[in-house]
Symmetry: C2
Subunit: 193 residues, 2 copies
Amino acid sequence: MTDEIISFITRFVPLTEEEIAIIHEQNLIKSFRKDAVLLSEGEYAKECYFILQGCVRSYYLIDGEEKTTEFYTESQAITPVSYTQKEPSKYYLSCLENSIIALGSTERNNQLLEKIPKLQSMVAQLNSDLLIQKQESFDDFKSLSPEQRYLRLLETRPDLFKRVPLYHIATYLGITPVSLSRMRKRVSTKVKQ
Amino acid sequence: MTDEIISFITRFVPLTEEEIAIIHEQNLIKSFRKDAVLLSEGEYAKECYFILQGCVRSYYLIDGEEKTTEFYTESQAITPVSYTQKEPSKYYLSCLENSIIALGSTERNNQLLEKIPKLQSMVAQLNSDLLIQKQESFDDFKSLSPEQRYLRLLETRPDLFKRVPLYHIATYLGITPVSLSRMRKRVSTKVKQ
DNA sequence: GGCAAATATTATCTTAAGATAAAAAGCATT
DNA sequence: AATGCTTTTTATCTTAAGATAATATTTGCC
């Protein structure tokens, strides 16, 4: 059932049978309906998330407009800023689909880290990897045109286009939905020639 | 001389006198001339850097154009991707000014981490902080217009405008130098009205 | 099947960025 | 002061994005 979590962790550190059992024990798995809000602006996140099934979106609310910053899908972990820092969240997390999510509270995670100290090294590695990824996507974003970013997203995460409305993808790409629609038309006629 | 390093570290973990002494011993400090290249595309970084004095820039070379991705100044640490990963670097690091830089090699840093294990927690915290910062600047970048990004950079890092040529700042903002020049004129006439 | 809500497209107009070339200004060195 | 080099600005033209409003299409639901 939560083998995804185990295989996620063992990408970083090996686990014994006992350790796997401990992790299974600790697991708190919940279902969320589409549009369920996991975290709101202004709230203090007390939990982090691991997506077993479904899709979650993070977004800012700026002048009444939602600006999507990330799409999280199966086997991705979400550690809200306000989980680590003691600040209220600046963004929202909500489900784009009915989702099954493993929750980690501060206390339970700390217990887990005590019982299995090598998980600390996993967390460290994960953060370091995420930093590198984030840096690279940022760099790409800056050096590519909106159209190139769109084409690249089509290649790297084609799944998103099947499960996420285009107007969320548009703000994720840093453009307006109208502009994305126009661009898609432009691109498709280019290809056909 | 390298008190900056100590105070950088003690922002994360407290240090005893002995530990400070150990760190001082380990320190390898070098001077670099303006335009010196610390790391080239394709190279494997064997070192990380801590800037004591000066300014370093990271950039990609794309179709013969340099795209600046970051400016590092006093008391900032640079850990190249290829220092942690076993991949060749995709970008360059070079000095915008004559600079004094503390170097950490993989071996020396590992020795240090063995001698002072709590530094591991510093590294972890640092990565986690950097991840959060990077995420936030990325989010800002996506939701702001080029002009707003320029104005924000003016506020947050006014020093850069005194020490870095505008054409580097332009590519850092994700626009062309010509466009930045035009924008500055536009902005200045706006303000004057 | 029909209706409302959600999502996507189209049209029009305005504004700013990209490309390119050329000129101007600033700086350092002799 | 003259030269060459770096940096910034200006000009022109082209292209695409933003804003806004209207329309079309799709989807879920009773």
